[in-house]
């Protein structure tokens, strides 16, 4: 295919002459949510296949070349982007970038590698059944995003993977790997000019194309806390995810909600959930809450979740306590002490986001991809300090719900049925938690 005239690429560059390595991130702005219908896992397979050989060199030759010069080149596919990322000992930066360019612009699309990759990915998907945390997360996605591309993991399912053909990968590559859809992040001791020249070669190897628009879907929330169980026999603990709608990266209430979450469950050791459910009651080793259950905030409204792993006998108590504490938090917000602790801590720890070239790079790339302001420490301080409990409560009411929780629980279903019956004798029918939906681990990967 003839290539169009190259446009000037967006390169976020962090220069530091003391660095011993060069790190590179190449971001294509479409991800697993753009998989063809019924073929979930396409983007993930493609991104991996690009590391498995070029028109000139086999997979082994390429990999050996990468690793022999002291570099690593990997890839990860999120719902809204694919990130090719690598690091190399600084003196071999040029050789490394040449290999990167060859990988991304001249893929072999080897049938043998494609079949091998599918086989490996099927095995990985199957293996998820061994991880209770991954199963609870999958169950939560399934109920929150049912019927949308986000209802499954980015790797796809056993059935969707089997439907994917090489043509699907080529179509995805031709559509989304283009000049308009890519940006670069580099932290290096080398001069920016040199890096830019090399990356221009990569850009020239791609078609001009068009920039992808973010794919955004609606969440499906229940009207009352609804318990979904993933049945695993003989568990010593319950793995509990409570999930409801979260926020986007651009949400104007984001900072207020970050402060609130710090107080409620976001900060280990000092949060209200941790101090009460672990510290006072001793129900669980870990309990926390987060807006980042699906990774960093993006254009897609994410999930707000409370995650815990109580000993099995305290599972019902932990769920009920978490819900009660949420209701109180939603109503009253944070105490004066909690609020000042969160504000002071967040402001004082903000410099850590900029402590190394790699962290600065991450911050700048995020700001660019999601059109969020890159605040200076002073700007951040004034933003955080301006938050009051009234503004926090207002934000909580606007963005959250008291009852719209999905509760996904990986545990022994028989044990939990008995426990739910015995521990909710005084609870009214309307408030009683019952198992509304059941999954076997294999249901979540089919």
């Amino acid at each position: 295919m003839p290539k169009a005239m190259a446009q000037e690429p967006t390169i976020i560059f962090e220069s530091d002459p003391t660095l011993l390595t060069t790190t590179v991130r190449i971001i294509f702005l479409s991800g697993t949510a753009a998989d063809p219908e019924g073929k979930g896992g396409t983007a993930n397979l493609l991104s991996e296949l690009l590391l498995r050989g070029t028109k000139k060199h086999s997979r082994d030759e390429m990999q050996e070349a990468f690793e022999r010069i002291g570099s690593a080149f990997e890839v990860s596919a999120a719902h809204d982007k694919i990130i090719h990322h690598g690091e190399v000992i600084h003196e071999n930066t040029e050789a490394f970038l040449k290999l990167v360019i060859e990988s991304l612009t001249q893929p072999a699309f080897s049938k043998k590698e494609f079949e091998s990759l599918k086989r490996e990915t099927l095995a990985e998907i199957n293996h998820v059944k061994n991880s209770n945390g991954a199963l609870a997360g999958l169950a939560l996605r399934k109920v929150l995003f049912e019927g949308t591309p986000l209802e499954r993991s980015g790797a796809g399912t056993l059935s969707s993977l089997k439907r994917i053909e090489m043509k699907d990968l080529k179509d995805y590559y031709n559509r989304y790997y283009n000049q308009s859809n890519v940006l670069f992040g580099v932290a290096s001791p080398l001069p920016e000019k040199k890096i830019r020249e090399l990356l221009m070669k990569l850009v020239k190897g791609l078609p001009k194309g068009v920039k992808s628009a973010p794919i955004v879907v609606d969440l499906k929330l229940p009207t009352k806390p609804t318990l979904v169980i993933v049945d695993k026999a003989g568990t010593e603990t319950g793995t509990v995810f409570l999930g409801q709608g979260g926020i986007t990266a651009q949400d104007p209430d984001r900072f207020a909600l970050d402060v609130g979450n710090f107080s409620f469950g976001g900060e280990p050791l000092v949060s209200r959930l941790f101090r009460t459910v672990r510290g006072e009651l001793g129900y669980t080793y870990s309990i926390s809450s987060t807006y980042s259950a699906m990774g960093a905030l993006s254009y897609q409204k994410g999930i707000y979740s409370i995650i815990s792993t109580p000993s099995i006998e305290f599972t019902t108590k932990t769920i009920r306590k978490s819900l009660d504490m949420w209701d109180e938090f939603l109503e009253k917000g944070a105490t004066k002490d909690e609020l000042s602790l969160a504000q002071e801590s967040m402001v004082n720890s903000y410099p850590f986001d900029f402590e190394s070239p790699d962290k600065r790079l991450s911050k700048r790339l995020y700001s660019h991809v999601y059109s969020t302001p890159l605040l200076s420490p002073d700007q951040y301080k004034s933003t955080i300090d301006a938050i009051t409990n009234d503004s926090l409560r207002k934000s909580l009411k606007q963005r959250h719900t008291e009852n719209g929780w999905w509760i996904t629980l990986v545990a022994d279903a028989k044990t939990m049925e008995k426990q739910l019956a015995s521990e909710q004798t005084g609870v009214s029918d309307g408030d009683r938690l019952t198992i509304a939906r059941r999954f076997k681990p294999e249901d979540l990967i089919q």
């Binding site: 003391t18 390595t21 086989r119 006072e280 801590s345 850590f352």
Partner: protein, 454 residues
């Protein structure tokens, strides 16, 4: 290839801290690291050791306190003879002192902007760590030294914390991989206390008494059993007067020497097969006894592990993962316990027995002919990349110094091994494979799913 050189530019001398009524300290050594950083070692008269790597690129620093005590010490201590207290105690260090009651330490460090605040316990050491803006150094040191000297062991809080620790243990028990590891330790060590888990048993955890906790604290959390590591925006001039002020008055204790029973040499292969309710596929773990990390064979053993495990060209990935037999497969040497371990997570429908045959074939090949020079070059450069990447991070450099100090008594051992890599030849790797990766020197553990209805 670049040679790795350390220059000792300092010598032992004594410095008066620039503050009234504070102890003196000794500047023990200064090392120039290969990346240009300077590493200084100091010691207080009470035996408290300090390692400092000044870095001023950002106004932050990592603060780590390492104690030379772990589960091995408690198991071998005649007054305790069980495991789990070292770990429970790590939790108790967050439950308050006379001056700063339960929860206050965490709140103040959070206010300081503390990042990555946590603690870990292992067989041979316990560490506490956080990163803070550098202008909060003194406040953090006051808090850290306070809990090291004036911890309040409240019986009610100990009981509450036991609940959280049991929760941690239960969570571990839900992991088939964890079971496999515990079984390997029990099989590989018939006598040495590596055979007892760091977390202890539920019975042991629930049974710990206040007196045992008090004894443990007084004995092992002594200045002569601790090392402070600071990497970041600090200088000797700023740091050491504070160290003298806050740690200098602590009294040294007679810390019992850890007398490990000699593990009899293994003479025959040991095999263990267990089931786990939540396993859906088999797990294979194999452990071979190897020499300790200060041995000359550490470098070829490390490179053998890298050759087998790191990167997409790793041999185990090629022969097990790429073939669809395993989901993951790694091998490499660990220190204290000194084992070369293979860990293979089988893909569903594949057996550990078949994976072991493939592994044995690969080992046979390593023993029969030297690996290609290109493969060795790949392994060495992958190690360089790892080191370059890690050393640039304050926390990771502090971790490396602390871990090697606790393992071997030599905090620079990690860098020395990297130096030794340049001298390793393919035949050296062949030699260690021949000598150590033999069946009579190994323990093999297979964890399988429970049969349905069984």
């Amino acid at each position: 290839m670049k040679r790795w050189v350390f220059w000792i530019v300092g010598a032992l001398f004594t410095v008066k801290a620039g503050m009234a009524n504070v102890a003196e300290y000794q500047k023990v050594k200064t090392h120039k690291l290969f990346n240009g950083d300077t590493l200084q070692e100091f010691k207080l008269p009470n035996g408290f050791r300090v390692l400092l790597v000044p870095r001023h690129q950002a106004e932050v620093l990592t603060y780590q306190v390492w104690f030379d005590v772990g589960s091995l010490n408690e198991k071998m201590d005649p007054k305790l003879k069980k495991t789990g207290l070292a770990h429970l105690f790590e939790h108790m260090m967050f439950r308050g002192s006379e001056k700063y009651p339960d929860g206050v330490f965490d709140q103040i460090t959070a206010r300081l902007g503390g990042e990555k605040q946590n603690a870990t316990t292992y067989f041979y050491r316990t560490n506490y760590y956080e990163s803070v803006p550098s202008d909060q150094l003194e406040r953090l040191m006051e808090l850290e030294s306070d809990r090291m000297e004036h911890l309040k062991l409240d019986p009610g809080l100990i009981e509450k914390e036991k609940g959280a620790v049991v929760g941690e243990l239960r969570r571990a028990m839900d992991s088939p991989r964890r079971l496999a590891w515990d079984e390997l330790m029990r099989a590989a060590y018939q006598v040495a206390p590596y055979r007892y888990t760091v977390l202890g048993t539920e019975e042991e955890i629930k049974g710990f008494t206040l007196e045992e906790a008090q004894y443990f604290y007084k004995t092992f959390y002594a200045p002569n059993n601790a090392t402070l590591i600071i990497v970041g925006d600090a200088t000797e001039k700023k740091l050491m007067p504070l160290v003298s002020k806050y740690y200098g008055k602590m009294k040294p204790q007679k810390v019992p020497e850890l007398k490990m029973p000699a593990e009899p040499p293994q003479k025959a292969e040991r095999k263990v097969g267990v089931t786990h309710k939540q396993a859906t596929s088999e797990i294979l773990i194999v452990g071979y006894h190897v020499p300790p990390i200060d041995s000359a064979e550490s470098a070829p053993l490390s490179l053998l592990g890298t050759h087998l495990s790191r990167g997409r060209e790793a041999r185990l990935r090629k022969i097990l993962v790429d073939k669809g037999i395993a989901v993951s497969a790694v091998g490499g040497s660990s220190a204290r316990p000194d084992l070369f371990e293979f860990v293979v997570d089988l893909a569903e429908g594949n057996t550990a027995a078949a994976a072991l045959k493939i592994l044995d074939k690969e080992i046979k090949s390593l023993q029969t002919k030297p690996i290609p020079k290109g493969a060795l070059e790949r392994a060495v450069n992958q190690e360089r990349l790892k080191l370059y990447s890690e050393i640039s991070d304050n926390s990771e450099l502090a971790n490396s110094l602390g871990e090697f100090l606790m393992i071997s008594g030599n905090y620079l051992r990690g860098f020395e091994i990297i130096q030794e890599f340049s001298k390793v030849k393919p035949k050296d790797i062949q030699a260690v494979a021949k000598q150590y990766l033999v069946p009579k020197n190994r323990s093999v553990v297979v964890v399988s799913p429970e049969k349905k209805g069984g």
